[in-house]
């Protein structure tokens, strides 16, 4: 993938052994995301307590990048408020734009993903889990 081996290994590790994989039994929020270009699908289930993400799981049918991103996300958002998690998602989106140069400190964990941003066709794969997260945040607002 044309990224330093260390990043690649990190991603593959996540893809092979995804964190928080599956479905919560009785989630407070759930959202699906779909990539029309390849048919990949992802379902995110969350449980909340006073606005804070208590538990989360992702069920992924997707490529290694999509799976790794979902796995990393689940690690990052646990114990965050849903609002903060959604904000992280936005910062992640911004850091994937062509112009963005620096990677914000708060996204250090996502560096292996962001390193792949020159592969513009894979951005949607990286974002699928985060799209579902933002969807949950929207649901919670209304």
């Amino acid at each position: 993938m044309n990224t330093p081996t260390i990043y690649r290994d990190l991603l593959l590790e996540h893809a092979r052994h995804p964190k928080n994989s599956g479905r919560l039994e009785s989630p407070d929020l759930q959202a699906s995301a779909f990539n029309p270009l390849c048919g990949d699908e992802l379902e995110l289930t969350l449980s909340l307590s006073a606005g804070t993400i208590q538990d989360c799981k992702t069920q992924v049918r997707g490529c290694s990048i999509c799976q790794a991103s979902a796995s990393m996300m689940s690690e990052m958002i646990l114990a965050k408020t849903l609002k903060d998690a959604a904000k992280t998602s936005q910062i992640f989106t911004e850091s994937l734009s062509k112009e963005a140069e620096e990677i914000p400190e708060s996204l250090e964990l996502l560096r292996p993903l962001i390193a792949l941003k020159t592969h513009r066709s894979r951005i949607k794969c990286m974002k699928l889990a985060w799209d579902a997260l933002e969807d949950c945040a929207r649901q919670n607002e209304t």
């Binding site: 779909f34 029309p36 270009l37 592969h119 513009r120 066709s121 894979r122």
Partner: protein
């Protein structure tokens, strides 16, 4: 004779202008039909096919990513060029005609009710008339014509009168027969009239009427500002702004985009396809079924870059001076009938006329013998020509590379037409 630094520089960029026609240097004065292409546009096409050609959006390999990038950057450059704040509002089509048909089929048709009407003007191009006739007919609705000001050749001929528009709009409110849409061109392709689009849109919106702007003639001739105008739809063609054939643009503002049903069905515009029903991608992809014209988009982006280098204000000034000169020359001849406003201030780049008692075809053919390319016919505006009581006219229309001596050559060559047909 004035000196045009812009032209002198520009002519070098257009290989076709080096052609000789019947032994004469070509004076290409049919820019309202299509413009010539600068080297940078031709090069963009070649560069795309030689280096980046691939299908867009659906591939993860390097070439496909490059092509997708070129395509989406083209969208962004169009957005900036016409003052749209979001490239998601830019839909690529085949040309102005398809852009207007898209609005007709995907937005107007599903919405139009029998007791509603569509407002058009007498100066519209067939491409901004016939789609509305087809839509209206299917719905059992009708077109209403905003007439042009009456006296041909007099100082207020061939324009759109804002007060008249206000009356039409007020009347429609009174009669409870609302207009679903006002479809109006920014610049007439026959009269060269520059219509007051900002004011038109303001009046129409005050009565809740959305406005589609046919900017086919305007985009190469003046700065466009869809956000400032707040227009609902705007359509134009690549080939009329020094870009390639086979590419056009539809701008739609968010409210309208949301109201639009899909246009054509096929690859790229879907989200999920079931056996009986499907769901749709978001705009703009929703309206772009099939493999898009990627090479053409790269050429269009090159054309836009070329125009921005000159500056649209500069080009506008240039065409203003050419038009002024042409109108001045017309005043010298009693046997030339001029159509449209005789004041340069209200027109740009396009001048149509007839040599009395000589058919426009015959005039154009004689001009061609001197290397002068002008158009003869109804220029896809039969309603307008009927309004003037004529079947056809001769049209000269300018581009950024035209020069005053070319216009003078035209007036000299008219003498030959007189000699042959009127002696």
């Amino acid at each position: 004779m004035q000196n045009f630094p812009l032209t002198v520089k520009a002519r070098e960029d257009f290989p076709l202008l080096k052609r000789k026609i019947h032994g004469h240097p070509l004076a290409y004065l049919d820019n309202a039909a299509t413009t010539q292409k600068p080297n940078c546009v031709i090069d963009a096409l070649v560069r795309f096919y030689e280096n980046h050609n691939s299908n867009v959006s659906r591939g993860v390999y390097t070439l496909a990513e490059e092509a997708t990038e070129i395509y989406e950057e083209g969208r962004e450059s169009v957005a900036k060029f016409i003052g749209a704040n979001d490239s998601g509002k830019i839909i690529f089509t085949r040309g102005t005609t398809e852009s207007i048909n898209l609005v007709a089929a995907a937005w107007a048709q599903p919405k139009l009710k029998t007791d509603e009407r569509i407002l058009v003007t007498e100066m519209e191009h067939h491409s901004n008339l016939v789609p509305w006739q087809m839509v209206a007919q299917k719905a059992g609705a009708e077109l209403v014509y905003w007439p042009i000001t009456p006296e041909t050749g007099s100082s207020d001929g061939g324009r759109l009168d804002l007060q008249k528009l206000d009356e039409l709009l007020a009347d429609s409110v009174k009669r409870k027969r609302s207009f679903r849409l006002l479809a109006v061109s920014a610049v007439s392709n026959v009269l060269g009239t520059v219509n007051p689009i900002a004011e038109i849109i303001e009046l129409a919106h005050a009565r809740g009427v959305p406005v589609l702007v046919d900017a086919a003639q305007a985009v190469a001739r003046m700065p466009i500002d869809v956000s400032g105008w707040d227009c609902d739809f705007l359509a134009f063609s690549g080939h009329k702004i020094y870009g390639p054939t086979g590419i056009g643009v539809l701008y739609a503002k968010n409210e309208r985009l949301e109201e639009m049903l899909p246009f054509q069905g096929g690859g790229g515009m879907i989200r999920q396809v079931g056996r009986q029903t499907s769901t749709w991608a978001d705009a703009p992809q929703k309206f772009e079924a099939g493999t898009p014209p990627v090479a053409e988009v790269s050429g269009l982006a090159a054309a836009i870059k070329y125009l921005r280098n000159f500056g649209m204000q500069e080009i506008q000034r240039h065409e203003y001076e050419l038009t002024t000169h042409a109108l001045k020359r017309f005043a010298e001849f009693e046997d030339l009938e001029l159509y449209g406003p005789p004041e340069t201030i209200e027109r740009c780049g396009v001048v149509s006329f007839n040599l009395r008692n000589v058919h426009p075809h015959d005039v154009a053919q004689v001009l061609d013998e001197s290397g002068i390319a002008v158009r003869a016919g109804h220029h896809c505006t039969q309603v307008l020509h009927k309004r003037f009581g004529i079947a056809a006219s001769v049209r000269m229309s300018f581009g950024l590379y035209n020069e005053i001596p070319e216009i003078d050559r035209l007036f000299s060559a008219l003498d030959q037409a007189r000699e042959i047909f009127l002696k």
